[in-house]
């Protein structure tokens, strides 16, 4: 089984970014040139940008009508200069909501790692872009770092809510986003790995309990929370804070917790928020 640690060590010895190491590895695995892989990742980046833009217009409503317009509210508050958390976190929250709202309204998104958690990575990536102004190649490499972590998570644990609860979707997305943010901030491979560990630890045990089985409540807002967690994790690690538990151990324990989680809390809408009185009412109204 893969470990993320292998890639960290390799990038330390070769003096390359994690993103470059993952890119080399995948070019070999997929038998394609690195240029081809970068081009394919660029398509993802283009769709990510577009989904943020579209979501921030505030015009999208979900099929159930329960979700939409919140990204715009947060973005407007940020623009007014009254934000409590500041422009960086405020912007990340707005962007994550934007993409998740586009997803809920049958718009085009990039699953990262899943459709339900598609807002976290673009929000964090494009927020880091606003702060550090990296060139496109660095953005693409940061996506390879994030995706490389996803590959390890999918291999050792799971990225599916039905299999591992929401920690597997939103938690994984937060870890992937934290690693990408640290790389864009110029952090070391070890710091990327530590930030991912800190972010993922914060979501251990999170259940998958979507109201009426729809990818709307609580999914959309969890994307925004995960984006802020990823940025907080990155900030800590960039300040010199370490993760006490190494990333691969965090991933393994997430897998184990997912196996212990009852089925009612794994995307079946049989537990958690889905069966609150309000959750049941929404389900009855909608179906």
């Amino acid at each position: 089984m893969r470990t993320f640690e292998e890639w960290v060590l390799k990038s330390q010895t070769e003096g390359l970014k994690l993103g470059q190491i993952v890119l080399h590895d995948q070019a070999e695995q997929l038998d394609k040139s690195e240029q081809e892989l970068l081009a394919r990742m660029r398509e993802n980046l283009v769709v990510m940008r577009e989904s943020v833009r579209l979501g921030l217009t505030g015009e999208r409503r979900s099929l159930s009508g329960l979700v939409g317009g919140d990204a715009l509210k947060v973005e407007q508050r940020r623009a007014s200069g009254e934000s409590l958390v500041g422009s960086v976190i405020g912007g990340a929250i707005a962007k994550a909501l934007a993409v998740a709202e586009v997803n809920a309204s049958m718009g085009k998104i990039v699953a990262a790692p899943t459709a339900g958690s598609c807002g976290v990575l673009p929000a964090v990536l494009l927020t880091a872009e606003e702060v550090y102004h990296p060139n496109e190649e660095d953005l693409l490499l940061a996506l390879f770092t994030a995706a490389g972590l996803g590959v390890v998570i999918a291999d050792r644990a799971s990225i599916s809510g039905a299999e591992g609860g929401c920690q597997a979707e939103i938690g994984s997305a937060a870890g992937m986003a934290a690693a990408a943010a640290v790389e864009l901030a110029g952090g070391s491979p070890r710091q990327c790995s530590d930030a991912a560990a800190v972010a993922m630890k914060s979501f251990l045990g999170l259940v998958c309990d979507p109201v009426a089985g729809l990818v709307e409540i609580p999914c959309v807002k969890r994307n925004a929370i995960a984006a802020s967690v990823a940025l907080s994790a990155a900030e800590m690690v960039l300040s010199g804070v370490f993760s006490a538990i190494p990333l691969d151990e965090v991933i393994d324990t997430m897998g184990e917790i997912g196996r212990q989680m009852p089925c009612s809390l794994k995307e079946t809408a049989q537990g958690g928020l889905a069966i609150t009185p309000t959750g049941r009412r929404v389900q009855a109204d909608f179906l």
Partner: protein, 222 residues
Amino acid sequence: MGSNVFDLIGPIMVGPSSSHTAGAVRLGAMALKILGGDLAEGKITLHGSFAETGKGHGTDLALVAGLLGLKPDDERIVEAKQLAQAKGINISFEKSNPPDAHPNSVTFELTDKLGKQVRVFGSSIGGGRIIIKGINEFNVEIMGDYPTLVILNRDLPGVVAQVTSLLATTQINIAQMRVSREKRGAKALTVVETDQTIEPAALELMRKLPSVYQAMAIEPLE
């Protein structure tokens, strides 16, 4: 096989759910490939959570979109029903819950413009991946990863050998092969997944084999 980076960032798709939306488009696309002709009419029966939460995930729209040949990232999925109507294709929906079905399953009953009919049963198994489990009265397992040859033949000794040797002469490599039958000596369904595309000429030769009633080639999904 382990996953690669583009399974983790990607696919590019129309939301909201990889299993209920992207998977549903792919199921529709597969059913259309199995019909193999121009769709005139379809009845779609939803099972399990496709029936229960399908509406909120646009599963119905996604299934129709697949039948119209749209891809999972096509933003017209949301208008699929209007598109079908504009093309004069009549599609009706029903719900039923057979006890043994996978939670996210669907049965298509399709008719093409020449009146040919086919029934296809399949499930969305997560992450946009699908499996076709039934074609007409036969149990199959088709994932849409490989070019697939589906042959309806007499269940006689030597038929499988004829099929494989024909594939060998046309330079087609077999990845996997499965045979299922109604009862011994009656009709059998042979499903062959191959590494190379099955050219029309090879398919014609297949159809000329004395024990073969029907043969179809299904392209892999993208």
